[in-house]
Symmetry: C2
Subunit: 337 residues, 2 copies
Amino acid sequence: MDKRITIYDLAKTLGVSAGTVSRSLNDHPSISQKTKDRVISKANELGYKTNKFAVNLSKQKSNTIGVIVPKLNSIFMSTVLAGIEKIANEAGYNLIISQSLESMEKEKLNAKTLYDSGVDALLVSLAYDTTDFDHFANYIRNKIPLIFIDRVHNLPNCSTIIIDNKLAGFEATEHLITQGCKNLLYISGNLKRNVYSERLKGFKEAMAKHNLKFDKANLLESDLGPSSVKDVIAHIKNNNIPIDGLFVANDTFAAHCIKELKKENYKIPGDIKIIGFNNDPISELVTPTLSTINYPGYELGVLAGQSVISHLNGGIDLHPANSITLRHKLIIRESTL
Amino acid sequence: MDKRITIYDLAKTLGVSAGTVSRSLNDHPSISQKTKDRVISKANELGYKTNKFAVNLSKQKSNTIGVIVPKLNSIFMSTVLAGIEKIANEAGYNLIISQSLESMEKEKLNAKTLYDSGVDALLVSLAYDTTDFDHFANYIRNKIPLIFIDRVHNLPNCSTIIIDNKLAGFEATEHLITQGCKNLLYISGNLKRNVYSERLKGFKEAMAKHNLKFDKANLLESDLGPSSVKDVIAHIKNNNIPIDGLFVANDTFAAHCIKELKKENYKIPGDIKIIGFNNDPISELVTPTLSTINYPGYELGVLAGQSVISHLNGGIDLHPANSITLRHKLIIRESTL
DNA sequence: AATATTAACGCAATCGGTTGCGTAATAAGT
DNA sequence: ACTTATTACGCAACCGATTGCGTTAATATT
């Protein structure tokens, strides 16, 4: 029971060649049904397990999909991953997951490691500070499917899966304005990342549409870490004209803002109305409940998964350089009423 | 640039054997420094990349660690994973992550897939309904390190990494009692899982210590899904003696309970004091802020990572059948004051 | 100087499948 | 009955490293 049995063992006991065993096991058309049956039943009898290492070597593919995300421990990202994993698993692929920890250097290392490991495809959500993209060159050159999700960058022949962040930003902002806010503040993540810069565009457009002039004071770029909440409070307290509407780049940070603002005796939504982003579970649990934009993370993951799989199975790019845009949705709760 | 070059290409252009190239690249002692230098510089010059597939096949190991968790999209689990990933990555291992979705069947499939993929070790946090453990037999038989984290089970020669759930449960409960609660309710997850059953033991012990008799009405087993909050409310409303202290198996569910109880006009902590578990980020953001037990997920992951790596490097089990217990901590916030 | 060591490397088997090509045996065509 | 297709399988060359063992050449021993 210790020694793993191989196709050669099977071949010998059955009196056929190893090639025949291999083809039988893979249901190759040029093998008679009778032989296939013999091989398969004998394989079961002896408890044969195919050795993936050998398969990988000879096929030069690993049945594995690499994923690089900024952080694993964010509810949004782990939800996306849950979606990806489900699809990949169903399709018989394994997922190798690594995190860049928002550092381009680590992202590069991960990209290289995964490349060397021979992943068949790579899914990436970019780190905060990624500015160049040479680390993906190998993938592109060797035609390994490369798909960006959420935090994307346009590279030739790479798909992207996103939502319409500009429109979402527009809708969130217009909602604040409709609720009577006159002096808005957009608390953004790193503007190098599409998700935040696009939302800023939408923010500006909404202001323009409603005859509000955009000023630097209407924007605060932040790393969205818990310790940066104080910057937000400072910005708000020091502003000439009192801010009455806050558009925050994610729900968790928005929740922290709410907490601190309440501590500073601001009334939410009385003094300041707040809208977040993502529709994280937390948005329903804070007081007041948080208006937000629903960003379907799980669906995003599922779509990303399906996209890679189809790339991988289709062989040819079914949708060369395509971009999938998911539907978002404005969710109105107490914090803007 | 297209054709990957192999040790044979190197061997040919250098006029040495492939074996020498291989040994040079691996810094084998029986090769002269001069030759090593020649090989290495030529390798760099030609852009040689070692083919992991071939290495895996000949070494029969993959440099990969498998992980099975119930769900990816939980803040606790993804935090644990973040810790594991960091360590594994630093040690040069890849992580293949899969989720059982709380189903034993899927857990079995995952265990099999990962085994077939040739992972060098397996980390597992058990699904809700896992009752038998045959799917791990292959690992044990072939001496592949198997480590359980958080939701554990005692199997021969398998490490477990946990906290003292019983003591934590005791402390949480005693804290409620100290705050004046007389009629407690423990809202538990599936009691087949050690984490929940241990906490129940602690719960009972604390009650006993303070001369409170434990009754079925003091326990509610739940799947802790959002839709089960109504059961909690029903249980509380229908109870003969009004419940004044709630010990909830995790913070997220506790947050949901708080929300619904407030909606039902219960005052927290006035009418009912509540303590959660895990110290999820949400516990600080709800109103009132939630008392809880700090469960250091990241450290747990780090420790799990270090443990596997040492198993893997040490070859021999350094700590056969050991069990690592992390320190937890009672965190008192508004919900129990 | 003759022999025993040691250092440095080559040979070839091995890991376990996959697959193009060739061929014997059987079935079909005329 | 003879030629032509088909079917069913065997052969052996890969895939790209690793590694035990043997061999040559350089160094040490007495």
